[in-house]
Symmetry: C2
Subunit: 145 residues, 2 copies
């Protein structure tokens, strides 16, 4: 898979939280785990990472839960989620794992990969969580497992 399992859950959770935030609602861990069909305790860990990285806001106590202010959502990119969970390796490092790979000393698949990598990064940098939440709200996209 392109993202780790943790990252898949992280993106799914973020989109779900964003969708609820569009309605001015917070969502708790239990609901998130159920809605995105992820293991609850593992999801909690991932949400902690997202919270530490200011990707989601968490509020403790009764009526607490997770939310993403709409203002933030509009400037929050997929790139930031992937970076927070999987790091930037996918976006930056050589497809064959060669540290010495660069345009002057390219690896055997360097050129074949370049455009794919560029487009992936472009997509991750351009796509906002707001875009994704709107897609869900409109019924154009789904988080069905």
């Amino acid at each position: 898979m392109i993202f780790s399992k943790a990252c898949e859950y992280g993106i799914r959770a973020t989109v779900l939280i964003a969708q609820h935030s569009l309605n001015g609602e917070r969502v708790g861990l239990k609901v998130i785990a159920k809605e995105i069909a992820s293991p609850e305790a593992f999801t909690a860990k991932i949400l902690q990472t997202l919270s530490r990285n200011k990707i989601v806001s968490s509020i403790k106590g009764p009526r607490g839960g997770f939310e993403i202010p709409i203002v933030n959502m509009e400037n929050l990119r997929l790139y930031q989620i992937v970076k927070a969970i999987d790091g930037e390796e996918l976006m930056e490092e050589c497809g064959l794992g060669l540290k010495a790979c660069n345009p002057e000393k390219p690896c055997p698949i360097h050129h074949q990969f370049k455009d794919i990598r560029t487009n992936l990064v472009k997509m991750l940098r351009e796509t906002t969580v707001h875009d994704l939440a709107i897609g869900m709200k409109d019924g154009a996209t789904f988080l069905k497992v």
Copy 2:
């Protein structure tokens, strides 16, 4: 990373073997592991997988080693190596790991991902090991770690 470590080593090994095969030489495990800077025993396992999948030919005994007949090389695609080692998940499955994701019920990032995925598969299906071996022979590409 986009490929597993095993797959990175597998591609690197295949390209190295192909390059030697262009010169009519076989390469043994020790040389391969040294040239691509991979752990020898682990590389042996990966070469077994490649051999079982008819991606490389192996010859035992003195003057044995690995080779790829040039005729095969010209029709051998990156896709087959990745499929043999990592499977087809990267090429086929939903970016968010949703089994139910399809064009009628797309996941939140389905459309953003579609073209990237298509281009990746296209590249893996079009790039032959012969292409990569020629690049190495010409000194246009490198397996330097």
